[in-house]
């Protein structure tokens, strides 16, 4: 599709155009950035759902979508790419296919394509695209993360860290990284009696720190507790807007977007440079020179 067709399609809120623009974000992010700059964007509440593999992020996403019935929601789900073949199995959709035909919900699967922070390298472009399409909410689900994949905090206005019992003792919860980035904790699989133990441990650990993070218990399969989570998301967004914190968040997001874009360009350049003499300093200055040439 030509650029003017894409722009008109986006303005007309045409679903197929959005699909094409998201592909552009994924495969030609620089082109996507130029295109998206020409479109008006609204501030959607961008929520990040993150947590270890198997805690129920996708199932939770499904029940969150059930609660957000009357809103326009863009969903980004990320699964890992193979470091060997670059292939990926994107299976998050399985849990939320009941929303595939919802008029207001748009689900898109992304592979992590070498990004190590738990997201796709095109995550900023993808969020911009959803905002340019007039979504009320954008929900980003990270790959199943370990302790230090925390990039979601750079893109999301609100980070929900999803936990389930059997995740280890309180020392695990005292470690830096993932546990620090939560604006909201969700203990999923609340039907498991051990989730009460997790709740008291988490409360005890949180009491040691300064940040007061609300904790919610959910059963993503039955939907129990999910309404309260969505309410908490909304209240937080209002608060962010009222206190101007949203503006600060968006400034940070922009900085990270620029960094990600430059990093991508640099990676491409380094990959393309032919190594004639295996000398570090020479190679580095060669790449720098090439980079400067791009500044027009």
């Amino acid at each position: 599709m030509r650029e003017d067709e894409l722009i008109n399609g986006m303005k007309a809120r045409d679903r197929k155009t959005l699909a094409k623009v998201l592909s552009l974000c994924e495969n030609f992010p620089d082109k996507a950035n130029v295109l998206l700059a020409k479109l008006e964007k609204n501030n959607a509440h961008v929520v990040g759902l993150t947590g270890s593999p198997g805690v129920g992020k996708s199932t939770l996403m499904n029940s969150i979508l059930n609660e957000m019935k009357d809103r326009k929601v863009g969903v980004i789900v990320v699964d890992p790419s193979s470091p060997f073949t670059h292939g990926a199995l994107l299976g998050d959709r399985i849990r939320m296919q009941s929303h595939a035909t919802s008029k207001n919900v748009f689900i898109r699967s992304f592979a992590s394509r070498g990004a190590l922070g738990g997201l796709s390298p095109s995550i900023y472009e993808a969020c911009d695209a959803f905002e340019a399409f007039g979504m009320d909410n954008v929900i980003v689900e990270t790959v199943g993360v370990g302790q230090s994949e925390v990039d979601v905090k750079n893109v999301a206005d609100t980070v929900a860290v999803v936990l389930s019992s059997d995740g280890g003792d309180e020392i695990q919860m005292m470690k830096a990284g993932l546990m620090e980035i939560a604006d909201i904790f969700i203990i999923n699989k609340s039907d498991n009696p051990r989730s009460q133990i997790l709740l008291s441990r988490l409360k005890a650990v949180m009491a040691m720190g300064k940040k007061d993070v609300p904790i919610f218990l959910t059963n993503a399969i039955t939907g129990e507790g999910v309404r309260e989570v969505v309410k908490a998301f909304d209240e937080r967004f209002h608060e962010l807007k009222d206190t101007n914190l949203l503006y600060e968040k968006r400034k940070e997001r922009l900085v990270h977007h620029v960094k990600a874009s430059l990093r991508r360009e640099l990676d491409d350049l380094v990959d393309k440079v032919e190594i004639e003499i295996p000398d570090f300093l020479k190679l580095k200055s060669l790449v720098l020179n090439e980079l400067c040439k791009k500044r027009e």
Binding site: K16, A19, T85, L89, L90, G91, R93, Q97, A100
Partner: protein
């Protein structure tokens, strides 16, 4: 990067074949979206359009392929999506022929080598982009 969707329309829950193919295509370096079992043609067609996939694979072992496949093809056409569709499962030869006449690019039966499928999927994508 080739983006494929593997979907199981209809009511049969026999997903081993779909999973084996999804895994094989992943190992062949493709990004494979698996929708899971018991999908309606509408869910599959909309997901394929939203995900902007290069090719769509349908796995059917229920015998309802002559109802389900044409419906998916029709919906894709309605949505203006030109996505090559291949089918795998238990499909009698005469039905396979009819499906191909309707526009299905290939029909795979039991015993097909996964390598062969991966190679051909790459070809389908090349042809559709040509």
């Amino acid at each position: 990067m080739i983006k494929v969707m593997i979907a199981k329309p209809g009511l049969d829950g026999h997903d081993r074949g779909a999973k084996v193919i999804a895994r094989a295509l992943r190992d062949a370096g493709m990004e494979v979206i698996y929708t899971g079992i018991r999908q309606t043609p509408e869910q599959i067609a909309q997901a394929a359009v939203d995900e902007d996939v290069d090719v769509l694979g349908l796995s059917i072992l229920s015998g309802a392929h002559m109802k389900l496949v044409p419906k998916v093809l029709e919906l894709l056409k309605e949505k203006g999506a030109e996505i090559p569709v291949f089918v795998g499962g238990i499909i009698p030869e005469e039905d396979a022929q009819k499906l191909k006449e309707m526009g299905v690019v290939e029909v795979y039966g039991p015993g097909t080598s996964t390598q062969e499928v991966a190679e051909q999927v790459k070809e389908f994508v090349e042809h559709s982009h040509a």
